[in-house]
């Protein structure tokens, strides 16, 4: 024991009262990350998040690929929300290369983005249900999202990791009966998710578990720099689709949902309200979309921009996703940095879990809309 320890390891002294729990990657309640939780009886004394189990070095690898081959690579942080992850990157590259996206492509991008948002939120809601022990709330969202994944497959060719957005538009046009198919699925989907109110959001046990658990006040939410549903559940109505509209969002009518409570119940309700709003947005977009037109700008091989940098951001399922690209007149970007909503919300975890009961731990930290794979990139 007196030998030199390998770097990064330390010996922990056992305390009389405080027990260190490793809510680790092999845990049915943790996702792909570790929380080192120090517990005093039933109360959490401190919580130290330890992400990085899924860190693949996306940003480093992006420097070795050119703008086009980066597309299937950079969509991997969130595989079922891949359109939203690629969105700021495509917008940024279009600014670097000076491309003008055709109108029909913009509408299709919006539709794909909203469908992806619903698919991601359903999965997150399913896992939230199972963390609270509600197996029906796991099965219903996981089953209902299949219709939207089906629609996305008809649109893009793949169920997840669509690789659909390219700088200059989208890869391919949609099949002929696209509008009818999407509208029918969205109608059914909306009917199904309205039933979640009865079984989940009005469930007295759920309310008693998540009400006033992990309350994040408005000032704290702003100071900690949270984003997405965590921010809107604390009363700040900031949604990039209305504040800094990109593509055709200024022609669509987007309602931003906010709640004032800032507790886990509000944070779990906002994504559901957002899904209902997404259905409306998809319907408007399908209605306003130009019926024909090109969907992609033709690019020369190995396109390159000048010595410039861009920072573009987009509202994804988890919050504002920003992409900072530095270009130096080579076909490969000099630096790509993705600022993801999950990583920005990670700071709330030690902040909120201190002093919470151990039973509230999954209810609080998963309600922050945290996707471990995205946070690690």
């Amino acid at each position: 024991m007196t030998a030199q320890l390998p770097p990064g390891l330390e010996i922990e002294k056992l305390d009389e009262r405080i027990m260190t729990l490793n809510v680790g990657p092999q845990h049915p309640g943790s996702g792909h990350m570790r929380l080192i939780v120090k517990v005093d009886g039933d109360y959490i004394v401190s919580c130290d998040p330890d992400p990085g189990y899924v860190h693949r070095g996306e940003e480093k690898m992006a420097e070795y690929r050119n703008y086009i081959t980066n597309i299937p690579h950079l969509e991997r942080p969130v595989i079922h929300d891949s359109c939203n992850v690629l969105y700021p990157y495509c917008l940024g590259v279009e600014e670097i290369l000076g491309l003008e996206v055709p109108e029909r492509a913009k509408y299709l991008r919006v539709i794909a983005s909203e469908l992806n948002r619903c698919v991601y939120t359903q999965y997150w809601l399913a896992i939230y249900g199972i963390f609270l022990g509600h197996s029906t709330m796991f099965m219903w969202p996981a089953g209902d999202r299949e219709f939207l994944i089906d629609a996305l497959e008809k649109m893009t060719g793949a169920r997840v990791t669509h690789a659909y957005f390219v700088p200059g538009g989208i890869r391919n046009d949609v099949p002929a009966n696209f509008e009818d198919m999407v509208l029918r699925r969205v109608d059914y989907f909306e009917k199904r998710i309205k039933e979640y109110a009865a079984i989940f959001y009005d469930n007295p046990i759920l309310i008693s578990r998540t009400r006033d658990a992990g309350v994040l006040s408005r000032e704290d939410a702003i100071r900690l720099g949270t984003t997405g549903s965590t921010l809107r559940a604390s009363g700040v109505d900031f949604d990039l689709r209305t504040k800094e509209p990109y593509d055709v969002y200024e022609e669509l009518d987007v309602k931003v949902n906010t709640l004032k409570a800032g507790d886990s119940y509000a944070r779990s309700k906002i994504p559901w309200l957002d899904m209902l709003e997404s259905c409306n947005i998809i319907r408007q977009a399908v209605q306003k979309m130009p019926k024909s037109g090109s969907v992609r700008v033709k690019l020369k091989p190995n396109p390159k921009g000048g010595n410039t940098e861009v920072y573009k951001r987009v509202e994804s399922g988890r919050g504002s996703l920003g992409c900072y690209i530095v270009s130096d007149s080579k076909p490969e970007p000099y630096r790509v940095k993705m600022s993801v909503g999950s990583f920005r919300n990670l700071i709330c975890m030690p902040y909120l879990l201190k002093g919470e009961k151990l039973g509230n731990m999954p209810a609080v930290y998963w309600s922050l809309n945290y996707w471990p794979v995205e946070a690690d990139r």
Partner: protein, 433 residues
């Protein structure tokens, strides 16, 4: 199995035959015959037609089926039948197996999926059997620093206590209960009081953090819900004046106790869900926080035994609820009587008349009782299984709040109602009803 047979040598083959016969003879004489002697000493052999049953007589039943009936009848009166088959372990295990299957199917339909589907021709009937075989074939892993004797004994103790619980519940009138004790209810609660101890033992001996937390939570939960459980039953005891479970059922031959003591029934139901560790009270095995709670370190057949014990407990509690509040086996006599011609004249098949002296095996009243008992138990089990699809898991402090404040309060209200009914002269001895 090796696909390549070793080379055959006649000498080795003969040697193996001789070895097998040698061991067969040794086992038969040194173990088998003493075993048979011991059985013969303790089993009460029946008297058939004035003669004590001998092995020759027993084997003649193979040739003459009509003499089987008295043998079977006498076997059914033994204690061993009551313990092993009905209403003891065999019956309870069958109900438990059915419960597990129905639970999986019912939850699946609730959750818009299919449930067990492929195992067995119709809708996955044989799924349980395959699960049992799978669990038998898994390796049992014991943590290195675990307390081995207690760790091995804990699942067995769990099943034993659950079986002890099952043995106290009457399933039909006329003494169809394994242990007919005069203080039935107190015996039931004494046995229930073992479960927290076994849970804590098994979690402590596993020597790991998550079982530890799960065991402490199980202890808190079970102990704090035992009191409302007992108090809610006091109302029934006050009104019937007896602690014997069979007599409680007999006192409900006109009306069920749930009609007069609904609050007690509700309190008993909720406390029962907590004792059984069913959702919404399944904190001790809360998967998302503490892996599997006090069951974490059990693997293979030990896990299978714990599940068996859990579902035996489920049957026993549901049966207790039926016995105390829903009138046990009382019900309209719908079981058809045994056709009288068969008793007197036998079955006529063409020229041959087969006579079966000693029929009927079980009398009509008993079968009627069993029918109604099973129907009611199935109904109660359905209501126990249903919250699993509807509710999330409750938190420990809310649980203890419910157990210590609300349920005890409600059960005291129930006792006052019972006392009021008794002293107003409505129920009980000398009452109106």
């Amino acid at each position: 199995m090796s696909a390549i047979a070793p080379k055959f040598r006649l000498g080795y083959f003969l040697k193996s035959i001789l070895d097998n016969t040698f061991w067969g003879i040794i086992l038969l004489t040194l173990v088998g015959i003493p075993l048979v002697m011991m059985l013969l000493f303790y089993l009460e052999l029946p008297v058939i037609n004035g003669k004590l049953l001998s092995p020759y007589l027993a084997f003649t039943t193979l040739a003459d089926p009509s003499r089987q009936i008295p043998l079977i009848k006498s076997l059914m009166q033994t204690d061993f039948f009551r313990i092993a088959a009905f209403p003891g372990f065999g019956f309870a295990a069958l109900v438990a197996a059915g419960t597990i299957f129905v639970e999986r199917k019912m939850l699946a339909k609730l959750q818009l999926r299919v449930g067990p589907f492929y195992c067995g021709k119709i809708e996955g009937i044989l799924q349980l059997m395959s699960d049992g075989i799978k669990l038998l074939s898994k390796e049992i892993i014991i943590p290195a620093k675990a307390d081995k004797p207690i760790f091995w004994a804990a699942p067995v103790l769990f099943v034993a206590t659950a079986a002890a619980f099952v043995s106290l519940i009457p399933a039909a009138g006329n003494g169809w209960v394994v242990a007919n004790v005069d203080v039935g209810i107190i015996a039931v609660f004494a046995v229930i009081g073992f479960f927290p101890v076994i849970t804590v033992l098994s979690s402590w001996s596993a020597n790991s953090k998550f079982p530890f937390i799960g065991g402490i939570r199980a202890l808190h939960q079970m102990v704090s819900f035992e009191i409302p459980l007992i108090l809610s039953v006091l109302g029934v005891v006050i009104l019937t004046g007896t602690l014997n479970l069979t007599e409680i059922v007999e006192s409900q031959h006109t009306y069920w106790w749930i009609v007069f003591l609904p609050i007690g029934a509700i309190v008993f139901f909720i406390a029962m869900l907590a004792e059984l560790e069913r959702i919404p009270f399944d904190l001790p095995e809360a998967e998302s926080e503490i892996v599997a709670g006090w069951l974490t370190e059990f693997s293979g057949m030990m896990y299978g035994l714990v599940q068996l014990g859990s579902y035996l407990k489920l049957y026993a509690f549901a049966a207790l609820f039926v016995v105390l509040f829903l009138g046990g086996w009382n019900g309209p006599n719908v079981w058809p009587p045994f056709p009288a011609e068969i008793i007197e004249k036998g079955i006529e098949m063409g020229p041959i008349t087969a006579r079966f002296p000693g029929l009927p095996l079980l009398d009509q009243q008993m079968l009627n009782d069993v029918l109604w008992f099973v129907i009611k138990v199935v109904g109660v089990i359905f209501f126990i299984l249903l919250p699993r699809g509807v509710f999330p898991r409750i938190r420990i402090d809310l649980l203890l709040h419910i157990g210590w404040y609300k349920l005890i309060g409600l059960s005291f209200v129930n006792i006052f109602i019972a006392l009021g009914l008794l002293y107003a002269g409505v129920l009980g001895p000398g009452g109106i009803l």
